[in-house]
């Protein structure tokens, strides 16, 4: 069971970090999203109170297994996990291990047991801290530092690793850009990128599209570790490990991916290398990075690799992708499965819009998808693809992205490219050409620009690119959220174009994207997203804070899920570069149907950017479905995210399946 509580006061969630590195803005710790896991209800209650007292947003959970499922569903919604060691259903260290491998969140262990061996076990399993019970307020007050530290370390890792791949450079720039924007926005949360590693993996594996998703059970992992230890970590190569493990069905790619993750995991344990890249924005950078990496090199393939991209990275991707896409003028769709990354996770499709390095190249997002994605997902993809075909993006000032799921639904997301006027309109039909699975990418015209300026680059990319990229991103039901993300990011990017980096909302959108994804996965986005802490929306809300206001971009976001396959058209028209106009508040309305059938529920999201951008949601008659779990309004740059519409139609059983695969309504805790 779990309770979701909104953190008390303190501006509800505005987490803003100063753009200058470790500088943390005054409210920073407030709104820290903490998941507490303890089977002792008394302790749980006290901890909850203590955390609230620190203005953190608290989610409590009395079972490790439940905590894990929550995290798998909404990993983006948490900044930190506080877990007891001794729990009847699952040992705290096991939970810790899972979290370390799957979501890479900072975990603090707590126990009355202060024996050195036990504490050491916490350290070796990757806990960032070990608190001796009874927990004192003094300790709780400072737990936020682990979040900051982790982000810093991750940034450093990224930078270091950057040299490894071409894409790295790109990453950094983008990161910077993101940071800048994020800094303004104060979207500290946006920056949660947790898994660059995964991105890297993705890249590596991108060539192997057929990678099969493998669930790395504890047993399998132990076999893996045994093999690695036998070979020694330095000499362990996937092929040898595979031979040693001798597990039927396991492929070299599976092992390679896991090995990479494992290495990162070890690296984290050892403190990881720290590079000098201290981007001021710790938080933002993270989020950005993930995507960035994937985008690095602008390899469509990498983008395409569905499974490889972690959710976070997706978000990033989206953000980055958007920017890049815009830069390119073409939009790439990526579908990534987070699941691949995480063995246990429910399958999610992610949509990434990635710019392609190669101009005018068509990228098949889908192809990559299949491997990572389950068949169902694949089907989804197909549908989405088709829908893409349907979607027409209007470019010129406005870029419209339509995401249609299945013929029945499609969402158009017009993105206004602020400055660009590139009115490239892409005919939907066009898109259709591509195989159902294939997405065509618009040419990347701008990519060069992107590189030149990190920030600028993105922004530039935004021009026209969006229009071109009219490719619709669709997420099948489950992915609906991702789509939302997409649009969000794109929007951001777009705004970025016209706008000064600072003004651009792009950064924020990233996070939001992540949120969406989460929502998508659950089938009911609204709920997740809107959950107190982690949803992107939440973030957005938090973002509402001044920082966001600064960003002119306001999106009105209505996410409603209609049972009907209603179509949503979002026509954001960006009128002016001035983006400032974005004051418009964003409203997110998510209606979730927690009906047993995810299919039924549809989501419409309307984003309105008051100024220039308007997202129109067309047909949402059904929006007011009974299932309104949640309605929120926020004004953020992330409005872009609003663009992401998720329509989940129960229309086709297939879709449903796809969308909701892995996400059983039951799992959704609302």
């Amino acid at each position: 069971m779990m309770n979701m509580d909104k953190g008390g006061g303190g501006g509800g969630g505005t987490l803003s970090m100063a753009s200058s590195g470790e500088g943390v803005s005054g409210q920073f710790p407030a709104g820290l999203r903490v998941l507490v896991v303890d089977d002792d209800l008394t302790c749980l209650k006290i901890l909850e109170r203590m955390l609230h007292h620190c203005l953190y947003e608290v989610t409590t959970c009395s079972q490790a297994v439940v905590a894990l499922s929550i995290l798998r569903e909404k990993k983006y919604m948490f900044d930190l996990v506080l877990s007891d060691v001794h729990m009847p259903d699952m040992d705290g260290f096991k939970l810790l291990e899972h979290i370390g491998l799957e979501m890479d969140l900072p975990v603090i262990m707590m126990s009355m047991d202060d024996k050195k061996e036990v504490v050491m076990k916490g350290v070796t399993h990757g806990a960032c801290d070990y608190l001796i019970k009874p927990i004192r307020m003094e300790a709780i007050k400072n737990i936020w530092q682990h979040v900051v530290r982790k982000r810093r370390n991750e940034l450093k890792e990224l930078e270091q690793s950057g040299s490894v791949e071409d894409g790295e450079r790109i990453r950094k720039p983008s990161d910077d850009a993101d940071n800048a924007s994020s800094a303004n926005e104060g979207s500290w949360k946006n920056s949660k990128k947790r898994k660059e590693e995964e991105d890297e993996e993705d890249r590596d594996d991108s060539s192997t599209l057929k990678k099969q998703r493998v669930v790395w059970s504890v047993e399998l992992h132990q076999q893996f570790v045994a093999a690695v230890n036998q070979l020694s970590i330095d000499k362990a190569v996937p092929k040898k490990i595979l031979e040693l493990m001798n597990v039927p069905g396991l492929t070299r790619e599976n092992v390679a991916s896991h090995l990479q993750k494992y290495r990162l995991y070890l690296k984290r344990l050892s403190g990881g290398p720290q590079t000098g890249l201290n981007t001021p924005f710790m938080g933002t950078s993270d989020a950005n990075f993930g995507p960035m990496s994937s985008f690095d090199g602008f390899n469509l393939q990498s983008l395409t690799v569905p499974g490889q991209l972690p959710p976070q990275s997706l978000a990033t991707l989206q953000a980055g992708g958007l920017a890049r896409v815009t830069a390119h003028g073409g939009m790439n769709m990526q579908i990534a499965d987070q699941r691949n990354l995480f063995s246990a996770e429910t399958p999610r499709l992610r949509f990434g819009v990635g710019p392609q390095l190669s101009n005018n190249n068509q990228v098949n997002l889908l192809r990559g998808l299949p491997s990572s994605m389950e068949q169902k997902q694949l089907t989804h993809l197909h549908q989405p693809v088709q829908s893409f075909g349907n979607t027409s993006l209007q470019s010129f000032g406005n870029t419209g992205l339509q995401v249609s799921e299945g013929s029945s639904r499609y969402v158009k997301l017009p993105m206004g490219s602020l400055g660009t006027g590139s009115s490239a309109r892409v005919d939907p039909v066009h898109r259709n050409e591509s195989n159902a699975l294939m997405m065509q990418m618009a040419q990347s015209q701008l990519r060069g620009q992107l590189f030149s300026n990190e920030i600028a680059g993105r922004v530039l990319g935004g021009n026209g690119a969006v229009t071109n990229g009219r490719g619709a991103v669709q997420n099948p039901v489950s992915q609906a959220s991702p789509m939302a993300d997409f649009s969000m990011k794109r929007v951001t990017d777009l705004t970025g174009h016209g706008f000064p980096l600072g003004s651009s909302a792009g950064v924020p959108s990233l996070q939001s994207a992540g949120t969406f994804q989460d929502g998508g996965s659950s089938g009911v986005k609204g709920p997740r997203g809107f959950n107190p802490s982690y949803d992107i929306f939440n973030e957005l809300q938090q973002n509402k804070t001044p920082d966001w206001d600064l960003q002119s971009v306001g999106l009105t976001f209505d996410t409603s899920r209609n049972t009907n396959p209603a179509q949503c058209n979002i026509d954001p028209s960006l009128s002016g570069l001035g983006q400032q106009g974005f004051l418009s508040s964003q409203k997110n309305r998510e209606r979730e149907e927690q009906h047993g059938n995810p299919e039924i529920s549809q989501c419409h999201e309307n984003l309105r950017v008051e100024n220039d951008f308007r997202v129109k949601t067309e047909s949402l008659p059904e929006l007011n479905s009974d299932n309104f779990v949640y309605t929120r309004h926020w004004g953020q740059d992330d409005l872009m995210s609003a663009l992401l519409k998720q329509q989940q139609d129960g229309i086709g059983p297939v879709e449903t399946e796809l969308n909701f695969d892995g996400y059983s309504m039951d799992n959704i805790s609302a």
């Binding site: 002792d40 209800l41 008394t42 209650k45 006290i46 007292h53 001794h86 019970k133 004192r136």
Partner: protein, 147 residues
């Protein structure tokens, strides 16, 4: 001056004799206008949960041979929640119990458990009285929290 002074925290002579320790005071500090009954709620939760634990332990103590691992696990939980509310004496008994578990001393476990239950009952009574008093005292008194 804490209301608790003389009641629990400093009662008795010597360091080990108080029923409650500083942790309880911390709980009181977490109680505010938004959570006016926080301490009582926590304590109620504790007694509800620990009643179940005591029952489990009693059952485990009736089984021969004693399963010390199981007993230790139960007592670990008991100790955890006891310490979280600052139930000092009860916690000390838990510690002792676990030590006997480690030694495989069944007699010691049983004896300690009896003592534990006694302390537990005493604490419960004292706390009930305390909350009753606090309610009678009203907000003014309540505001005067131990520092």
């Amino acid at each position: 001056m804490s209301k608790l002074d003389g009641w629990f925290v400093q009662s008795g002579s010597g360091s080990g004799s108080g029923y409650l320790d500083d942790q309880f005071i911390q709980l009181e500090e977490l109680q505010d206008d938004a959570n006016p009954n926080f301490v009582e709620e926590v304590v109620t939760l504790f007694f509800g949960d620990s009643t179940r634990l005591i029952f489990n332990i009693e059952q485990a103590l009736d089984k021969k041979p004693l399963d010390f691992n199981k007993l230790d696990t139960f007592m670990h939980q008991f100790k955890g929640s006891s310490s979280s509310i600052g139930a000092k004496k009860v916690k000390n008994e838990c510690t002792q119990f676990r030590e006997y578990c480690r030694q495989g001393n069944g007699e010691g476990c049983i004896r300690t458990f009896q003592q534990l239950k006694k302390e537990y009952a005493t604490l419960r009574k004292k706390l009930e009285n305390y909350f009753q008093l606090a309610r009678q005292a009203g907000p003014t008194e309540t505001a005067c929290r131990p520092k």
